[in-house]
């Protein structure tokens, strides 16, 4: 059959292979809403803690924990119910990108919070976390887009 397979048929088969692998990669990517939800929960928790009122702190902590668990559970369990992405599809540069993303969130929130606190601004941690949350909400989807590109390039049949 190899000898009889026309080049256009082979090209069509390669396209089919790429599209099927892309379906699995899409399953593994974190949706944009996840970043916005977590960013909002982070800001809410900081604001609750800085209110210094025990009841508000308690409610804020409960909402944060419940929200993070629900959002993460939905994303992780939803993906695992369908398919587990092959680990090798994520190259080391992808892992570095994830670490850089976490570092960027911390770099945006911590120094800002300390600087605002030193300047005597009210709610310094909330303002700092708001900046970090913005980095998360904007950067999360960008990170996913970058990882998607890396994984598409790394799949079998993905480098024609």
């Amino acid at each position: 059959m190899n000898e009889r397979l026309r080049p256009d048929e082979a090209a069509r088969a390669l396209t089919e292979i790429e599209q099927r692998q892309e379906q699995v990669i899409e399953v593994a990517l974190t949706p944009a809403w996840f970043w916005w939800v977590n960013a909002g929960l982070m800001v809410g928790l900081s604001a609750a803690v800085e209110s210094r009122r025990p009841l508000v702190i308690g409610i804020g902590t409960a909402v944060f924990v419940t929200g993070v668990l629900a959002a993460t559970g939905r994303v992780v369990i939803g993906a695992l119910r369908r398919a587990q992405l092959r680990n090798r599809l994520l190259p080391p540069v992808g892992v570095l990108a994830i670490l850089a993303f976490v570092a960027a969130i911390l770099a945006a929130s911590l120094p800002t919070s300390f600087a605002l606190d030193a300047a005597g601004v009210r709610y310094p941690a909330t303002c700092g976390v708001l900046l970090g949350a913005t980095v998360m909400a904007v950067g999360g989807p960008l990170l996913m887009r970058y990882l998607r590109r890396l994984m598409l390039a790394g799949r079998v049949g993905g480098q024609r």
Partner: protein
């Protein structure tokens, strides 16, 4: 370097789709494969059985709570065959490209 080898078992349209999906995954759920490829339960079972008998896939049956859960993954033999098949397809396309470029 992967040695190109055309695999007729993999190249059948539905099996090519199934194996391609599995190649990007550690394992995939039966329902996910069925819905992605657009097959009926029985058609997918039949194709998975053929791939299983060839030693290309491993089928796992288990329970999540009380619900039965079937998943499949490519074996190392299946993965190697798939990679060789992709290399063979690329070779066919490349050869055609080379013949088009040559005067």
């Amino acid at each position: 370097m992967i040695k190109p080898k055309f695999d007729e078992l993999i190249h059948a349209p539905t099996r090519l789709s199934i194996v391609s999906l599995l190649a990007a995954a550690e394992w995939a759920d039966f329902k996910f494969i069925r819905d992605s490829v657009g097959l009926s339960d029985s058609a997918l079972s039949k194709q998975l059985t053929i791939l299983d008998e060839a030693g290309y896939v491993e089928i796992r049956k288990g329970f999540v709570g009380k619900r039965p859960r079937t998943s499949a993954r490519l074996t190392s033999v299946g993965r190697a065959a798939f990679e060789q098949h992709v290399a063979a397809l690329r070779e066919i396309v490349a050869r055609a490209g080379a013949s088009l470029l040559s005067p």
